[in-house]
């Protein structure tokens, strides 16, 4: 049977197994994001402390992202992924047990946020490189498109499901479900036959590779401008995990269900952005600036919104522009 071009990566047995695991993992991961924000606000009722947990989640990326990518190329990917996913699973299970036993404190969430960040800093570049190996160079576009589709569907399903679950059963079940999702991912990784061998050594050091990459980027004005826009948008727009729970509680006076639905509407916007981008042959810098301006203007509009329906409809274009 011949598959459509967009689905061709599914011809590869190892990619199919890996992809099934990832689809489950992504939904669990989005559920945990919603649960974490709700947990912190329930424990502290402090936006600053919520922001701090968000910072701790991504601090390791700031410290190790560039080194992480270079290290990832030098180690067997499948084994490395089993280790990082096990670490992430343990982090989730620890938090779930602390919550269910009533012992959870704010500092537990902070410490485990750093563990999550460290594991993710290695996990993310390794996973991206492993996908290329599983699907093969010829089908890499299809693999990336399928992963992107799974990511965006999870971004809608995960938060909506988490919101409903937290409203009915509390935060702990969302963590337990995500811990279960990690078990699924680890099993699928063990079923994959590709080892993800390290790249052949080119005789260069990690430091030299990083220097070369940075110098190349700085010498290329289009890359400089692209990174500058990305920097502005990352700083101002992409803090959905902070904005949305605060907005749901402070402005709209909603519970976890409302928060979950708002996060899901951000996902709907992101899907719209991804589809628009996919329909364009070659995204231009003009489009990059236009979407950047639109998403920042969306934030200003959000500052005047006080109704739930309007909030959902305005979060969508803001996220859509941001995703583009």
């Amino acid at each position: 049977m011949t598959l459509p071009v967009g689905l061709r990566a599914l011809r590869h047995r190892d990619f199919r197994v890996f992809f099934a695991g990832q689809a489950v993992a992504l939904v669990g991961s989005w559920m945990q994001q919603v649960a974490q924000a709700w947990l912190v606000l329930s424990l502290t009722n402090s936006p600053l402390r919520l922001g701090l947990v968000g910072s701790l989640n991504f601090l390791p990326v700031l410290l190790f992202a560039i080194v992480g990518g270079a290290v990832a190329d030098r180690l067997p990917k499948r084994r490395l992924l089993v280790i990082t996913q096990s670490l992430l699973g343990c982090q989730t299970l620890t938090l779930a047990l602390l919550i269910v036993t009533g012992r959870v404190r704010y500092w537990h969430v902070c410490a485990l946020a750093v563990v999550w960040g460290i594991a993710n800093t290695v996990d993310l570049p390794v996973r991206q490189a492993f996908v290329v190996e599983l699907a093969g160079r010829a089908d890499v576009t299809s693999a990336v498109a399928l992963n992107s589709a799974a990511f965006n569907v999870a971004r809608i399903v995960g938060p909506a499901a988490a919101g409903l679950l937290i409203a009915r059963a509390g935060v702990a079940p969302a963590y337990f479900i995500n811990a279960g999702a990690f078990v699924v991912v680890i099993v699928t990784l063990l079923l994959v036959r590709t080892r993800g061998a390290p790249l052949p050594r080119l005789g260069t050091t990690i430091g030299a590779e990083i220097r070369e990459g940075v110098l190349y980027a700085l010498r290329t004005p289009r890359i400089v401008v692209l990174l500058a826009v990305l920097l502005v948008i990352s700083f101002t727009v992409f803090n959905f995990s902070i904005y949305v729970p605060l907005f749901a509680r402070q402005v709209l006076g909603r519970g976890p269900e409302g928060f979950g639905l708002l996060m899901a509407s951000v996902g709907v916007g992101a899907v719209g952005g991804a589809l628009t981008l996919g329909a364009l042959q070659a995204p231009s810098l003009a489009l990059l600036f236009a979407t950047g301006f639109l998403s920042c203007a969306g934030l200003v509009v959000m500052s005047t919104v006080h109704g739930f329906g309007v909030a959902c409809s305005w979060r969508r274009p803001t996220a859509c522009a941001g995703a583009s």
């Binding site: 992202a65 560039i66 402005v251 934030l299």
Partner: protein, 57 residues
């Protein structure tokens, strides 16, 4: 790609902390307002730089 991840994720800690701080003191509506206006102003500077560069080249 690492540089992309570094900027995408690396800036987030500062953004999250800033949004959290503003929301703590003045509420999340002000966090939206400040972030949106700062974003519009900074993007205008980047766009002006890019246009000037293209004109001089």
């Amino acid at each position: 790609m690492s540089l992309h991840t570094f900027i995408y994720g690396g800036v987030f800690p500062f953004g999250a902390f800033t949004v959290g701080s503003i929301s703590e003191h003045w509420g999340v509506s002000w966090a939206f307002r400040v972030a949106g206006l700062v974003g519009l102003a900074t993007l205008s500077v980047v766009l002006a730089w890019w246009r000037l560069r293209a004109r001089d080249a």
